[in-house]
């Protein structure tokens, strides 16, 4: 036991001595949370729009003012002719052009129908849909006010409620994802690189020759990364609660259980990679391509799983982070308890059991060669 | 003594509060085989790296091949060859490709490189290994190849840092024959070693202890000075004075 403690100490020394890597390990979660919380958002703010208004009457002026007043839009250009619209888009000067019909107010009052055209730069389909949506609802509420003032019947009053995330902050969907990503990065990638490094420099042979059972060596390698990832989890949770104001709505105990389970899975993956490859670069590339990319792209962290084709949905079921992120979302954001995540819990338990067994077997096989 | 190609005065290198090289002063004449001895950690490699322009000294003066070690390190590099302690040719290039690369870097033309490559391969008896990947060569061959590459461009001076480490005695003898051949062509040889029998092959030797030069003369003169039967004995007497720990 004493020896084991000595080995763990040695691993900590290795990590702390490399200041740069250490900094990255500790700073990375902070930077990511801040980026995802504030910068990486799909919210629409102050988007540049242009207006073409051939009518120039009271109604169009009022509408223009309302568009400008909303926090979604900033009017950057008032166009003199519709011919310049294409050029404006091509140069990326505006993302939405609002084109009023002619004799707008007159038509609105007498025939009851006036027209507005919304031309959006749809290179980004979602952003353009959202922009068109906001513009339409500003125009729609103007129309609603007119109907109300004139006592027109058949008004459907809409009350909208945003469940779990009343301010519609995108941080709510990203925080669980960042937790999954960081654990994968530190536990799986770092552990595999640390073990392979000993193989590459030949120090592994020396260690294996010591009276310590090999399995303890591996555990000793894993413990510091386990500690660091638990520490990082703590940082992430503190930051998300106090800086991003994303509360932990559900049980903290549930969150801890599922996180530890996931850390185990990640460590086992790291060990597996380290048994399979011979060089640090290979370990890095395998964990980068085989773990990080799937976590970023296929786990539902950024892109919803429901939008994927069935084949990829099926594939994403194999990614541990997918289950972890789903469970964290339920517990942390939706405020459900452990019972609500029984499926995620059992899948992760099964994965942990399988991966730990396989990785230990692979490690033994390698020793015997 | 012949014209000095290496000259140092109170050359010093500190890393933090550790003085690796402590005020060393010496001269090496053209065409000489100069042995640079010392225990591990005595500062040999650091001193040699300063002379090669790989490391900047903290204080002191020095010239190599007539160029100042502070201001003209790139000029120095044109006139020297260097073989490091750790084998450092490209393992993923073939034998001839390594020669071509370094010949090219020193500004030789393709034709010159081609002719020189033929000569050297023949001299070393490597003709069949021309297309062998360097990674696949046995250690002794690698060392001989590394030496040949370091003098490929016929430098004025060649620095050899423990060139025969880990090689069998037969290969070591062959290696020293190569060194003599180079010296006969007028190349000054500056060599570190901790094989004391090799020290006897040198024209003059210096012995470093704890960053300082404690003795400097021909092997015969040193034996006499320390009343020793062989160089091993001279070395032991000096090394006992060391206080610096070797890690």
């Amino acid at each position: 036991m004493k020896q084991f403690a000595a080995f763990i100490q040695k691993e900590f020394f290795h990590i702390f001595r490399d200041v740069r890597t250490m900094m990255i390990l500790l700073v990375m979660p902070v930077v990511q949370i801040i980026l995802f919380g504030f910068a990486i958002t799909t919210e629409v703010n102050n988007v540049r729009i242009a207006i073409f208004d051939p009518s120039k009457d009271a109604a169009t002026r009022q509408l223009t003012e309302r568009l400008e007043a909303s926090r979604y839009f900033t009017i950057v250009r008032i166009l003199d002719s519709p011919d310049t619209i294409d050029e404006i888009f091509r140069r990326g000067e505006a993302q939405l052009v609002v084109v009023f019909g002619d004799r707008f107010q007159e038509k609105l009052q007498h025939t009851g129908e006036a027209s507005v055209q919304l031309l959006a730069d749809a290179t980004d389909p979602n952003q353009s849909t959202t922009l068109t949506g906001y513009a339409s609802s500003i125009i729609g509420s103007y129309q609603q006010e007119l109907t109300e003032r004139q006592g027109i019947p058949y008004r459907i009053l809409l009350e909208t409620r945003m469940l779990y995330n009343p301010q519609i902050k995108s941080a709510y969907s990203f925080v669980p994802g960042v937790m999954g990503l960081i654990v994968m990065l530190i536990c799986a990638m770092m552990t595999s690189i640390a073990i392979v490094r000993e193989k590459e420099t030949g120090t592994m042979e020396v260690l294996l020759a010591s009276p310590m059972p090999p399995i303890y060596l591996i555990l000793a390698k894993a413990v510091p990364y386990l500690v660091i990832s638990i520490f990082n989890m703590g940082t992430i949770l503190l930051l998300s609660v106090f800086v991003l104001h994303v509360p932990i709505a559900g049980s903290f105990f549930g969150l801890a259980v599922i996180s530890i389970l996931f850390i185990l899975v990640a460590l086992a993956l790291g060990l597996m990679i380290s048994s399979a490859v011979e060089t640090q670069v290979a370990a890095m590339l395998v964990s980068g391509a085989g773990l990080m990319t799937p976590v970023m792209m296929l786990s539902g962290m950024i892109f919803p799983i429901e939008s994927m084709p069935p084949l990829l949905q099926w594939f994403s079921a194999l990614i541990p982070a997918r289950w972890y992120i789903a469970a964290v979302r339920k517990i942390m954001i939706q405020g459900l308890d452990l019972r609500a995540v029984w499926l995620e819990l059992s899948v992760l338990t099964a994965m942990a059991a399988a991966l730990v067994t396989i990785s230990l077997k692979m490690f033994k096989i390698r020793l015997n060669n | 003594m012949r014209e000095a190609v290496i000259y140092t005065e109170k050359l010093t290198k500190r890393f933090g509060d550790f003085t690796a090289v402590d005020h060393i002063s010496f001269e090496v004449g053209a065409g000489e085989i100069f042995g640079f001895l010392g225990a591990n950690g005595a500062g040999k490699t650091t001193a040699m790296r300063i002379l090669c322009g790989l490391s900047r000294p903290t204080s002191g003066k020095g010239t190599v091949a007539g160029f100042d070690i502070y201001r003209q390190s790139e000029e120095i590099k044109k006139h020297i060859g260097y073989m490091s302690q750790k084998f450092s040719l490209y393992e993923d290039l073939k034998v001839w490709e390594n020669m071509r690369l370094f010949g090219g870097i020193y500004g030789m033309s393709s034709r010159q490189i081609g002719e020189k490559t033929e000569t050297i391969l023949k001299e070393l008896g490597f003709a069949d290994e021309r297309n062998t990947m360097v990674r696949k060569l046995p250690l002794g061959w690698k060392q001989k190849l590394a030496f040949s590459v370091s003098i490929f461009h016929e430098p004025k001076i060649v620095f050899l840092d423990e060139p025969t480490g880990g090689v069998d005695p037969v290969t070591r003898r062959q290696f020293w024959e190569l060194i003599y051949q180079a010296a006969n062509r007028g190349i000054t040889v500056f060599v570190t070693t901790h094989y004391m029998d090799e020290a006897e092959y040198c024209g003059r030797i210096s012995i470093m202890v704890d960053g300082r030069i404690e003795a400097l003369d021909s092997p015969a003169a040193l034996r006499q000075q320390f009343r020793a039967a062989n160089m091993e004995d001279v070395f032991q007497q000096l090394a006992r004075k060391a206080v610096r720990k070797v890690d």
């Binding site: 006036a114 730069d121 749809a122 290179t123 | 590099k77 020297i80």
Partner: protein, 370 residues
């Protein structure tokens, strides 16, 4: 001298067991898989309905919502609580709750209420879902008015008809949006990571020492390191363009030569940056981590996944020094909008400045002595 160094770099690159395969397969894998995964298209939202009215009007509203194509009726609940449970268990994304007396209120009082509750854990989905429902409600009200108007013949209801049109990507295909940007990501990863691992790799094997002791010119040495990645960049770009055209029928609307010009400048800056990191690192592990760290930030702050205009001002200011941001914009503009070189002149100048700065920095940070 350059010729000999280049021979060496290319031989080493091609002889590597791993890298040439990586250069060929990674673009294929990423471009064949990721466009399908990197999809934020919101379709087929699962609708839960709480109809407290059970009238003709409420039935019509529900049918209209389902017929819109945005929603799939996934659950019918008797109460709001029940519907919430459907959302919690993940069966439904959005709830449409119609008040009792919906029809009577509409006819008698002229107004009636409905409540929409969206699961906003994914803010995008919640936002778009409720917007779709609200526009369906609007349409429905106009429809009802028209029917009633024929009978009553009373006042004229002011209606503003909205026509919206998406330019450049009329089918709102997310893949079309992502592919040009994914190409940028590939060029960044391959053009950045490989150089980042290069010089520090030579440090670890010790070969850099043999180079440092030669009179090799720093500028020439770095140039010889950059050129192979430059060529790699062209290979990767060409593979990408072929896959985009063959696999997705996506061809650039703009000039292909302009595309290559920008890629050439861009790869110089990321490779330069990679070499800078390599120069400053002592071990491969360190270089990998630093590179990973910066790549992650650069990619996230490039507008590749989320729009830059959505970022707060301080974050937008940071993106100004992110070369990825400019190249992502350029790729999308050339591919989708057919922007010409003169439209892209500001981008060209900025990227050229980046390339110059990064390669110079790479030369300066390479030290032949310590």
């Amino acid at each position: 001298m350059l010729r000999f160094l280049l021979e060496k770099e290319f031989k080493q690159l091609l002889r590597n067991a791993f890298i040439p395969r990586l250069i060929l397969f990674m673009p294929v894998m990423i471009l064949l898989v990721l466009p399908w995964a990197a999809n934020q298209e919101i379709r087929d939202l699962r609708l839960s309905v709480v109809d407290n009215d059970h009238s003709t009007f409420s039935g019509r509203l529900i049918r209209k919502a389902v017929a819109s194509g945005y929603f799939r009726l996934a659950d019918v609940s008797a109460s709001d609580e029940e519907a919430l449970q459907a959302v919690e268990s993940g069966k439904a994304d959005i709830i449409l709750n119609i008040e009792p007396g919906f029809e009577t209120n509409l006819v008698r009082e002229g107004a009636a209420k409905v409540m929409v509750s969206a699961n906003a854990v994914n803010s995008m989905k919640g936002g778009l879902g409720s917007y779709y429902l609200s526009s369906i409600l609007n349409d429905y009200a106009v429809e009802l008015r028209k029917e009633a108007g024929l009978q009553a013949g009373g006042k004229i209801a002011p209606v503003i008809t909205l026509a919206s049109q998406g330019r450049f990507n009329p089918h709102l295909d997310y893949k079309v949006f992502m592919i040009p940007a994914l190409v940028v990501m590939l060029l960044t990863i391959l053009g950045g990571f490989l150089p980042a691992l290069n010089i520090v790799g030579e440090k670890e094997t010790g070969t850099i020492e043999q180079i440092n002791v030669t009179p090799v010119n720093k500028f020439v040495f770095i140039l010889a390191k950059l050129i192979p990645y430059w060529v790699t960049g062209f290979v990767v770009l060409t593979i990408c363009i072929l896959i985009a055209a063959g696999g997705y029928g996506l061809v650039p609307k703009g000039n292909l030569a302009v595309l290559y010009l920008f890629a050439a400048i861009y790869v110089l800056s990321v490779s330069g940056l990679g070499l800078v990191i390599s120069n400053h690192s002592n071990t491969l592990q360190q270089a990998m981590f630093v590179m990973w760290f910066f790549t992650l930030i650069f990619v996230l702050m490039s507008g590749l996944f989320t729009p830059i205009t959505s970022m707060p001002d301080w974050a937008q200011a940071i993106t100004a020094i992110n070369p990825l941001r400019y190249f992502v914009e350029v790729m999308r503009m050339i591919y989708l909008k057919g922007s010409s070189l003169s439209d892209l002149l500001p981008h060209l100048l900025v990227l050229a400045a980046f390339a110059l700065f990064c390669s110079l920095w790479a030369v300066l940070s390479y030290r032949k002595n310590s």
